[in-house]
Every structure is written in structure tokens, then in C-alpha cells.
């Protein structure tokens, strides 16, 4: 069975600084997607960034980038120039290609200090 592990329940970062959230996963599949979702307090979960496992190049979306290490089954999220609006719960997630089920990690709560 696939699992997703986020070992950092909470992280904090100073505004304008960089922070990295960790995620590891376990799967026997070769084709899959990995995601980082952001869930602000009392607001809906939104997709931050996604990575296809067959792509070696790390995905980037503005201030958000990932470090995808397929062999190590590691998928970390780097947030550069952190802003107050980045404060949220961040979920790492996995989905097998062609599958319908998304498996989420337990989440990392990110605090941003002014």
C-alpha cells in the first residue's frame, strides 16, 4: 500500500526567508503524481504544485519549487521569499497514474512570522 509521510508537524519561517517542507512516500508504482496542497485556516484546500514521476525536472511555480528525488522517494517543497499569506497547513499527496485515489500525508502547519 502506498503511504505518504510528513515528519514535520509544524514549521515556522520569518517573512521573506526560505523554508523547506519535507515529504517521503512509499510506492511500488513507477508512474504517479505527487502534489503539495495548501489549506489556509477556514479556507479551501488548493493545489500548490504538482510533479509527474516520469519527469526528472523539478516543478516550479513562482516562489514554490520542489526537490523530487525518485530513487529516495522524497518530495520536498521549498517556499522562497515567504509571505504572511503562506501560513497554512501543507499536505503532501500521492496519486497513482490512472488511479482515482489521492493519498495524503498528515500535514505540516507552517507559521510565518512578521
Amino acid at each position: 500500500a502506498q503511504t505518504v509521510t510528513q515528519s514535520q508537524p509544524e514549521m515556522s519561517v520569518q517573512e521573506a526567508e526560505t523554508v523547506t517542507l519535507s515529504c517521503t512516500y512509499d510506492t511500488s508504482e513507477s508512474d504517479y503524481y505527487l502534489f503539495w496542497y495548501k489549506q489556509p485556516p477556514s479556507r479551501q484546500m488548493i493545489l500548490v504544485i504538482r510533479q509527474e514521476a516520469y519527469k526528472q525536472q523539478n516543478a516550479t511555480e513562482n516562489r514554490f519549487s520542489v526537490n523530487f528525488q525518485k530513487a529516495a522517494k522524497s518530495f520536498s517543497l521549498k517556499i522562497s521569499d515567504s509571505q504572511l499569506g503562506d501560513a497554512a497547513m501543507y499536505f503532501c499527496a500521492y496519486r497513482k497514474t490512472g488511479g482515482f485515489k489521492t493519498i495524503f500525508g498528515a500535514g505540516t502547519r507552517l507559521f510565518v512570522k512578521a
Binding site: F35, Y37, R43, Q44, M45, F91, G98, F100, T102, A106
Partner: protein, 113 residues
């Protein structure tokens, strides 16, 4: 523009009193999902609809049912809520089963007294 709408945002019910949560979408997506998210935990998939085809997760209690009368709407019925069913319930959609991106609603927070 809201794309996945959940009503109500907050729902209080009594132990054992049936409750229905509502989800609607303006995306015309084929797939709709219901997740249960307990405090400080990951969302857990309860079931999903692909069009009218209903798929239940093996560990979803029988107490939880769902209806999808049309493409836009999906309901979660909890027949006899217990204290352990207090949680945030998230609705999500995707264009197809193989589409990787899901769009989430804001959730309904259910309190059971």
C-alpha cells in the same frame, strides 16, 4: 468565482440525528469525492462518484451514504451520527478519474452533540 461550493459551512447535529451535507460544482466535472478530515489529520477518502457510478472505500462505515442526483450536486448523508463522526467534510471534483488535479470545496465542519 466559487467552483466547488459546500453548504452549510458549519453544521451541528445531535447524536443519532440524521444529517445531510451538500456539495455543488460549476466545473462540470465527472468525478466528485467526499473526504473526512479529523482535526490535525490527513483527509481520508470516503467515496467517489464517476458520473452516476458510486464507489465506496472499503473502510467507509455503513453509516455514511451518498447521493448524486445530477452532475452538479452531490450529498453526504450520515444516518446516525456518532461523536466520532465530528470532523471537517471536504468535497472535491476532478474532470476525470485519470485527471490528476482535484478541486476542493471549503468544507463543512460537523459538530455532534
Amino acid at each position: 468565482d466559487a467552483m466547488v461550493i459546500q453548504n452549510p459551512r458549519y453544521q451541528v447535529t445531535q447524536f443519532g440525528k440524521p444529517v445531510t451535507l451538500s456539495c455543488s460544482q460549476t466545473l462540470n466535472h465527472n468525478v466528485m469525492y467526499w473526504y473526512q478530515q479529523k482535526s490535525s489529520q490527513a483527509p481520508k477518502l470516503l467515496f467517489h462518484y464517476y458520473d452516476k457510478d458510486f464507489n465506496n472505500e472499503a473502510d467507509t462505515p455503513d453509516n455514511f451514504q451518498s447521493r448524486r442526483p445530477n452532475t452538479s450536486f452531490c450529498f453526504l448523508d450520515i444516518r446516525s451520527p456518532g461523536l466520532g463522526d465530528a470532523a471537517m467534510y471536504l468535497c472535491a471534483t476532478s474532470r476525470s478519474l485519470s485527471t490528476d488535479t482535484q478541486y476542493f470545496g471549503p468544507g463543512t465542519r460537523l459538530t455532534v452533540l
